[in-house]
């Protein structure tokens, strides 16, 4: 594993965020089969790799719903949201980033405790105990 990089390879914020665009159910043209539902913790999340994208997927068991969003937290641009804790704020399902507890709505991606940019969200469907994430590209 090559971890030491040169300055020219440093992360480009726009380039990363460019990859993630909120996708509405009606625009889905491809359902990516990510993993078995049993690979995800109850009321918790895990990260799915799709091409060069990292997607956080949450199994909100208490609501009997599944959510997906970008794994990168727009605050410090780290790939960590899937490791965050989920819950609700006045009924809105949310995820809290494990780094600084920035919270985002899992319904529409809005930052609930600050004015960060909204995160991109994706539709999820379950078929035969498998989790599928919908993409428009």
């Amino acid at each position: 594993m090559e971890l030491i990089s040169t300055q020219s390879e440093t992360k480009n914020m726009e380039e990363i965020l460019d990859k993630y665009k909120t996708t509405q159910l009606e625009n889905v043209i491809f359902w990516f089969k990510a993993a078995s539902i049993h690979d995800f913790p109850k009321d918790g999340g895990a990260c799915v790799k799709y091409k060069d994208k990292q997607i956080a997927v949450f199994n909100f068991t208490r609501l009997n719903k599944w959510y997906a969003c970008q794994n990168v937290c727009p605050h410090k641009m780290e790939m960590v949201l899937s490791r965050g804790m989920i819950g609700d704020q006045k009924g809105i399902p949310k995820v809290a980033c494990p780094l600084h507890k920035k919270t985002f709505s899992l319904e529409n991606g809005k930052n609930l405790n600050g004015d960060l940019d909204a995160i991109a969200t994706y539709p999820v469907k379950i078929e035969e105990e498998n989790v599928y994430i919908g993409f428009s590209d």
Partner: protein
């Protein structure tokens, strides 16, 4: 730059400096302070505490560095001999001359020793300075040596200070006697009936009171053997503390012919100016309105006036009426007196409530028209003092039937209204001159959002502490008026606080977050506040590890490692007491090298390995475990380290084996989840190389055992741990620690360190001793048993995880790929690596 010389470094002299340097234009002035005593200013009001802990530093108003940090020259051990007010110079006993622009005399007072025959004999002491106490203690230990029976000792004077001294005499192991010339105790503050109530209470504590006694002679050859009060009336005592009042120290003022009162005291005007306009006098040496004020609060007010005057704010002067109200705990009895405690019939009437079964006495004095409260006395129950005092100070309206102010309320509500009814100018904290308006303002403008903020912004409650309940009420009421919820419930999902949830989980035996939420929640789905809290409680109660329900664990516990700013983790294996073999040290190095980890020694003297990815964590731990390491819980709100010095095993000064005991303690409490992290320290001698007093629990080896300190921490608000028990053996240390930690785990708020918990514990350290040592709540058996259960159930959660394929599943960055996070970028730094800086 102008030069101010302050003569006297007592409480008032210190307060002058403290108030002065807070002023924006203070930097145009240089302050030099002369103190006659060897140490910087200390809290004389709480002098009797010195007997309890022998810790002079704990009484200090500010540490010695405070003076130099604030550009104040403090010259201790130096008396000022004379003043030349024309040349504007002073001369010290060392014949050094200093010139001044302003001179502030804060020379205080000296104990008054009546001219009784034989008063010069050995064994007769006064009670004012730490040196006085040290002399007394030394004499006491000499006469007590080798004697089993209790020796009688007396205090001459039954005033405020005399009763404090009586407590000290009792604490020294004597049979204490108080001798008072007047027919009642505290003659300036109490009436005869309240004095009777107080007398009964303190006599029940073993202190004998003798009233209306005129001491005619001190008996004995060279040392005191008794006191004579007249014919055939004597008391055999072998030590005497004289506390018969104070005399202002005005001898220095006399060297330059400043105006002096006929019975002593340096005359001052409303500006605190003496008869020379460049010389001020404040505190107990100053004669204002023909009175000497022997209380600290008026002294502080005088200091404040002098500060304003010197800075040219001439309109701020001393008020004519000086409040002499006092509230204090004397020998464990609450006593308060405010306004006019006695009532001449021409001014008004008194209403008196007395309950001898409870040792309670309350008196209020009201004007003839029953509209004004003029003063009063409270003994035994002073909970209403703050409100009554405010009603008196602000001439607030009182109920039509004034007796409601002191009669036990039938509906449990006090007759007086809300604290918010006080006028804005009402002085809530008289020690620090903080008004209601100031407190409300800093909350309203957002400077303060809780009690701790209010205290740190205004210093309210930091003096005598008597106003703390009122400051707290005022803070809560103001927050409430702004619509800010002051409930301490954990979050929107529960109407319960941590302590409630603790009891519920313990009693009902819940095992999952959902059980707790479904049965006791508000119908929501939890959040990042209540989930980790419930996880922590389950761990504190059932010894659950972080593997059991990992999705409710906080960021670090979830992956049992410390998440770093780029989403990688650091790994800290346990190294109990900091003792490590060369082989294990080599193993750590080899593992760090194998996984290319940035390596650093932590503040808790162990090794931290940074830059591990999620996928690497189990691999690293398999290697560590195979070399005999276990989890260090550096990621948990749990015991971190017990730091040790090398102790008597190697050190030539060591009094005990600090390393051995530190290891034992670290292994005992490892893995236990608490409201916040816990750190310990064990030092082998008083040189304190392990910095044990900066820890939640600290031990220092002394002759005859360990001294146990509790409730310290570093961090944003450093606090020294408080001395809890002395010279106890290993077994007792463990017993007390088991009880202390368990009591903390049961009752603290979420994420509250022991220091903050202890500080806010009602009744403070004394209460803690009653619970833990005297078993006042009858819970120590449960506490010990609960702790022992946790100790017995301990298992290393990393060993548990690496041996369970199901638990291991979570340590993958991707659920559908074995690849690593490709977003990580490291840059080189000093032969190691670090995450690239955030933009």
């Amino acid at each position: 730059m102008k030069h101010i010389i302050v003569v006297g470094n007592g409480m008032v002299g210190y307060k002058f400096c403290e108030k002065f340097i807070q002023k924006p234009n203070a930097k145009n002035y240089k302050i030099t302070v002369f103190g006659e005593e060897p140490r910087p200013a200390y809290d004389r009001v709480h002098l009797s505490e010195f007997f309890e802990n022998k810790d002079a530093k704990a009484l200090e108003m500010a540490p010695i560095e405070w003076y130099s940090n604030n550009n104040i020259d403090l010259i201790t051990n130096t008396r000022v001999n004379s003043i030349d007010k024309v040349a504007k110079t002073i001369e010290t006993i060392h014949a050094n001359e200093f010139s001044y622009d302003y001179l502030v005399l804060a020379t205080g007072s000296s104990p008054f020793v009546p001219n009784i025959e034989g008063v010069e004999k050995d064994g007769v002491f006064v009670y004012r300075t730490i040196e006085d106490l040290e002399d007394t203690l030394q004499y006491a230990s000499i006469i007590q040596a080798g004697r089993k029976e209790k020796i009688k000792a007396a205090v001459l004077g039954g005033g405020l200070l005399g009763l404090e001294a009586a407590k000290a005499v009792k604490d020294m192991g004597f049979e204490p006697h108080v001798i008072e010339f007047a027919p009642k105790l505290m003659p300036r503050q109490l009436d005869k009936r309240s004095s009777n109530v107080l007398q009964e209470k303190i006599e029940s504590l073993g202190i004998t009171v003798h009233l209306s006694k005129i001491t005619s002679k001190i008996l004995g050859k060279s040392s005191i053997t008794g006191m004579e009060f007249g014919e055939n009336d004597r008391l055999d005592v072998e030590m005497l503390i004289v506390s018969a009042g104070i005399r202002p120290r005005d001898e220095l003022a006399k060297t330059c012919d400043l105006k002096i009162g006929t019975r002593g005291g340096i005359w001052v005007n409303h500006k605190m100016q003496t008869s020379d306009e460049n010389i001020y006098a404040i505190g107990e040496c100053a004669l204002f309105n023909n009175m000497i004020y022997g209380l600290v609060a008026p002294g502080y007010d005088m200091a404040e006036i002098a500060v304003h005057q010197i800075l040219g704010e001439n309109e701020i002067v001393m008020q004519d009426k000086i409040d002499m109200s006092t509230k204090l705990k004397l020998i464990g009895v609450d006593v308060a007196s405010y306004g006019e405690p006695f009532m001449p019939i021409e001014k008004g009437h008194s209403i008196i409530f007395e309950d001898k079964t409870k040792g309670i006495y309350k008196r209020i004095n009201v004007s003839h028209d029953k509209k004004k409260l003029l003063g009063g006395i409270l003994i035994g129950d002073v909970s209403d003092y703050n409100m009554l005092h405010q009603i008196y100070l602000n001439s607030m309206a009182i109920p039509e039937d004034p007796s409601q102010l002191i009669l036990p309320a039938s509906d449990g509500k006090a007759a007086f209204g809300d604290v918010m009814d006080l006028p804005n100018e009402a002085q809530v904290c008289s020690c620090e001159s903080v008004t209601k308006g100031q407190i409300c303002e800093i909350i309203e403008n957002g400077q303060a959002s809780d009690l701790a903020d209010v205290v740190s912004c205004t210093k309210a409650g930091t003096g005598c502490g008597g106003c703390k309940p009122m400051v707290s009420d005022l803070t809560n009421a103001t927050l409430k008026s702004l619509g800010i919820e002051v409930k301490d419930s954990v979050c929107e999902h529960f109407d319960l606080n941590r302590q409630d949830l603790y009891k519920i989980i313990q009693v009902k035996g819940y095992k999952t977050f959902n059980e707790v939420l479904d049965n006791h929640g508000n119908g929501g789905h939890g959040c990042e506040l209540c989930k980790p809290l419930v996880a922590s409680l389950m761990a504190s109660i059932n010894a659950d590890t972080a593997n059991e329900e990992y999705a409710i664990q906080d960021s670090n516990d979830r992956f049992m490692a410390n998440i770093q700013r780029n989403g990688t983790y650091s790994v800290v294996p346990r190294v109990p007491g900091g003792e490590i073999t060369p082989d294990k040290l080599i193993a750590l190095g080899q593992i760090a090298k194998k996984y290319d980890l940035y390596t650093k020694i932590t503040g808790g003297v162990r090794v931290d390995l940074f830059g591990a990815t999620l996928n690497q964590l189990p691999l690293i731990w398999k290697d560590l475990i195979s070399h005999g390491f276990e989890s260090g819980h550096a990621y948990g709100k749990s015991l971190r380290t017990v730091k040790t010095c090398v102790g008597s095993t190697w050190c030539r000064y060591g009094m005990d084996e600090s390393v051995s005991f530190g290891i034992e303690l670290e292994n005992r409490y490892r893995g236990i989840r608490a409201p916040h992290k816990i750190k310990g320290g064990v030092s082998g001698c008083i040189r304190e190389c392990a910095e044990a007093r900066g820890k939640d629990f600290g031990l220092i080896a002394v002759e005859g055992g360990w001294n146990l300190y509790l409730g310290g921490n570093g961090g944003a608000n450093p606090r020294h741990a408080e001395l809890f028990a002395e010279q106890i053996d290993n077994e007792t240390v463990i017993k007390y620690l088991d009880r202390y930690l368990m009591f903390y785990m049961r009752t603290a708020k979420p994420l509250q360190r022991t220091a903050a918990w202890q500080e806010r514990l009602e009744g403070g350290l004394e209460y803690l001793k009653e619970v833990i040592i005297d078993d006042k709540l009858e819970i120590v058996e449960d506490l010990e048993q609960e702790m022992q259960t946790l100790v017995n159930r301990y298992k290393c959660e990393w060993t548990q995880a690496v041996n369970d394929p199901e638990m291991m599943k979570r340590f993958n960055h991707f659920v559908n790929s074995k690849e690593e996070d490709d977003n990580l970028v490291f840059v080189p730094m000093r032969e190691q690596k670090m995450p690239e800086p955030w933009s």
